[in-house]
Amino acid sequence: MGLFRYTTKTYARELLMLALAAVWWIPFYFLVVVSLKSDQEVFTESASALPRDVAWDNYSSAWEGSSTMSLATAMKNSLIITGGSVLALVAIGSITAYTLARHRGRLGTALYLTFVLGLIVPFQLGLIPTYVVLRHLHLSTSYLGMILLYTGLLMPLAVFLFTGFVRTLPRDYEDAAYIDGASRMLTFTRVVFPLLRPISATVAVLSSVLIWNDFFLQLVFLSGSPQQTVVVSIYSFVGEYASNWNLIFATVILSITPILFFYVFAQRQLIRGFTGGIKT
């Protein structure tokens, strides 16, 4: 251990990395500063200057949104679609993974491998048929359609993460519950599912971020509809307010707040999800 002491050289390295991080965060400085500038200041003042009069009303204008939809409504849409999909992913993903992990025979393995293959198959190719089918079923601009789509899309990832975890769980708890007279379903919901909490959190946090931020699907399916989400709203907002950067940035800040909140409180699950979910 003695070789890795904290020396003056380490101290210099620490300062260097802190300086690099500060440079890395410059875009966030402009994001916040510009969002608080009045219309004139954005164009007349030097870009890096702090706002002279803090223009909080940018945020209320941003909250009102564009002429077609308020940001509040878009937030509600994003919340419903993200929340619904995440609930479905955790509920269906956990029971599917549990079932597969307890079936180590040929059929169970084959089903599991199908999910793993689903992780690799590039979904871009399925986009057009999915759009056609959902439009045909009149689900293309509905919450239900989007929730089903995201649930199916992220199911392989959820099953992969859950199965890895279930395999480390000893069966003794299940057997004990069974001896005590619990049915198999009750054993799952009351005994197994609570034990899955760490991985459920990882799946929930990771899929929340992926779905909240996803742009392509929401642009294709929801653009211009009353179910339009936050990301699509920013897109149309920029189209409408071309270079009103103060309003655009206030909108951006409002739209990333829920995710930043997540990031601060569930950072570990997030990083574990991002790096673990990809290791195939």
Binding site: L3, F4, R13, E14, M17, L18, A21, W25, P27, F30, L31, A47, I95, T96, Y98, T99, R102, L111, T114, L117, G118, V121, P122, Q124, L125, G126, L127, I128, P129, Y131, V132, L148, G152, L153, M155, P156, V159, E174, D175, R184, T187, N213, F215, F216, V231, I234, Y235, V238, W245, F249, I256, I259, L260, Y263, Q267, L270, F274, T275, I278, T280
Partner: protein, 307 residues
């Protein structure tokens, strides 16, 4: 009697303690299985079929046109450009983002007191919407924006240019933003790899007098190979799939200087309702992604077999 109550297990017959719950029915896996198969296999298979048709989304039936859509991709200058930009952008992105990620991981692996804080700072952009991120950078790159103002302030007026409006720079501006956003993710892949290297190995090399650089080259990097395979494969696929960042920064412009396979897929397939032609772009994209995935799996397998 007292002993029985204190020590119940002793009197329970061995057989009873090994009672097993009967297996759960496979039926429980059906809903999840059906959803995943519909999206990942049925839809994808149908998409591959559309790529060989002329369907426009309105007509009742799609006509089989063989390889016409792919011929059109090769003949159209914009489409060829999109394919080329995707490859070019991905290659440069993968090199830069992995170099940055590896550097950050090595710098923040041990010793620094603020390492957890610094990791969190560098990872933060990963969780943001890439569209929103792209808008922030679009402002930084504006002609009167912060970047050019900074260049003017330090006497580099000759470097000032409309970054996103200049066809020879726009694609590289996209790469810069993409690297900025995902270097923290590459960092995490490499950190995960570094954490699997026992500290003793590194220490042993140090005791034997190996310099820091030699230790990085001879100990760390070879042991990082699996993490590197994963990171390179993941970032390559990311590069192929880039969409939000391009839309937010340049929307394919100036002219068609930053069109990619995904922007063409969207513009042709959805905006212009040429489903068949759009699906052909998707098929090209899917083939590229599949090649990377299969190579990754083979590399990891081969290495596992050797170890």
């Amino acid at each position: 009697v007292i002993e029985y109550e204190l020590n119940p297990s002793r009197d329970i017959p061995r057989r009873r303690r090994r009672v097993r719950m009967p297996g759960v029915p496979l039926l429980w896996a059906v809903p999840g299985f059906v959803l995943a198969v519909l999206v990942h296999f049925v839809a994808v298979g149908a998409g591959a079929w559309y790529a060989f048709t002329d369907w426009n989304g309105i007509s009742a039936s799609a006509n089989w046109v063989g390889l016409d859509n792919f011929r059109e991709i090769l003949e159209s200058e914009v489409a060829r450009g999109a394919l080329w930009h995707t490859l070019e952008l991905t290659a440069v992105y993968v090199i830069l983002v992995n170099a940055a990620g590896l550097f950050l991981a090595l710098a923040l692996n041990r010793t620094l007191r603020s390492r957890n804080f610094l990791r969190a700072l560098f990872f933060a952009p990963v969780v943001l919407s890439s569209l929103a991120t792209a808008y922030v950078w679009r402002y930084l790159f504006e002609f009167n924006g912060p970047l050019n103002q900074f260049l003017g302030a330090v006497g580099l007026e000759s470097w000032q240019r409309p970054w996103l409006g200049d066809p020879s720079f726009a694609l590289w501006a996209v790469v810069v933003v993409f690297v900025w956003q995902y270097a923290g993710l590459a960092m995490c892949f490499y950190l995960a790899g570094l954490q699997s290297i026992p500290e003793e190995v590194d220490e042993a090399a140090a005791i034997d007098g190996a310099s820091l650089w030699l230790r990085v080259r001879a100990v760390t990097v070879p042991l990082l190979a699996p993490a590197m395979t994963i990171s390179i494969a993941y970032t390559t696929i990311q590069g192929f799939r880039i969409f939000d960042t391009v839309v937010g920064l340049t929307n394919g412009g100036p002219g068609s200087a930053t069109e990619t396979l995904t922007t063409q897929l969207f513009n042709q397939g959805f905006a212009a309702s040429r489903f068949g032609y759009g699906a052909a772009f998707a098929l090209v994209l899917a083939l590229l992604i599949s090649i990377v995935s299969i190579t990754q799996i083979m590399l990891l397998r081969a290495r596992e077999a050797r170890v």
